[in-house]
């Protein structure tokens, strides 16, 4: 079991943080959990998929890449309320993951055509298949919501 393994929390002692961390308490744990993550995926997690709703949305658009629909329908597809996903959907547009279009008087969202961003999404989704990654990422997101 590696030092950064989230299952190895018994080794963690907040009273005696690592000298090199410079981060007391949970910050140190967080750093240790994230230490062995792919830097690109970690960056994507920190800056782009920094909420559970964004995570749901990114996975949904990755699996259904030609989806073009309104916020109400997208909310329905991922089983959430439109009001709840609104700000996250807008954040994903700002970060370049999604694109905004007009269809008549409707505003519709779709996945970006940018191949570099799509590659990052693919990388992230692929990493998400791994349970260890998910545990670490969930910890990171929970910590971020505090």
């Amino acid at each position: 079991m590696s030092d950064s393994d989230p299952n190895n929390l018994s080794k963690w002692n907040p009273a005696n943080p690592r000298k090199h961390s410079g981060l007391p308490g949970t910050g140190d744990l967080s750093r240790r959990l994230m230490d062995d993550m792919d830097p690109e995926v970690l960056e994507f997690l920190k800056t782009t998929v920094n909420s559970f709703i964004k995570w749901d949305l990114v996975i949904f658009f990755f699996e259904n890449p030609h989806t073009t629909d309104t916020i109400d329908n997208i909310a329905r597809y991922i089983g959430r309320d439109a009001a709840v996903i609104k700000s996250d959907l807008e954040d994903l547009v700002r970060s370049g993951v999604l694109e905004l279009h007009s269809a008549g008087n409707l505003t519709v969202y779709s996945l970006t055509k940018d191949t570099q961003v799509r590659e990052k999404i693919k990388h992230f989704v692929s990493a998400s298949d791994d349970r260890q990654f998910r545990v670490k990422a969930i910890y990171h997101l929970i910590r971020g919501t505090r």
Binding site: N64, H66, T67, T68, D69, T70, G104, N105
Partner: protein
Amino acid sequence: MERIKTGIPGLDDMLNGGFLSQSANLVEGAPGTGKTTLGMQFIYNGITQFNQPGLILTFEEFAQQYYGDAANFGWDFRALEKADKLRVIMTSPEVSYSDLGGVDGRIQAMIKEIGAQRILVDSLSHFDRLSDDPVPRRGMLYGFINSLKREGLTSLLTRESSALIGELESPEEDVAFVADSYVMLRYVEIESAVRKALLVLKLRGSDHAKDIRQYEITRNGIEVQAKFEGREGIMSGSPRRMADSFVEAFVRR
């Protein structure tokens, strides 16, 4: 008149060679009769046999579901998307209607991007929720179907039928009004077994087979087989042997 072959064994013969080019073709049936399978096969065969790229507009099932279902028949939809021959678009009737009715829409762009010639719309039943009033609904359907024709697409439009087995319900007038052909899929009960029947009810401007054929969903997709011999009342869901109906009509009087 140019024909667009479905490539489905037996069906093109019934359609006198296939659907008419740039026509709207309605396939109606109860859940599980194979409407979506028939539609996916129409798209897949178009790409692989006739080099005609295709689009799938889904209003209900996730695109991911189509990839999985298609794979069960050995049709690799993801590879076809990668080769820019196919797009599976998850959207809604209101977005499709607005997108295709306007200019520079996202769906329009995808049609042009891959040079689509065929489209599966699954399913038209979802237009029902746009309006309770049949008059504007018919207007929307008419506009939507014409926009598909304008884009040069031959469309296969599925529609749910609420009757599983039993009396034939009246065809939905709004759709029958705008569709160029009308294929009906039905369950029938014969000797305590459920079989499937297919009928071409209408093919505008062309002759077509009038008989009712059996079909099966095999591991390769739909295969239309022989007609139901020696039975009548097939579309009622409970066919009788012709001899029985003869006795009923003449002997028992």
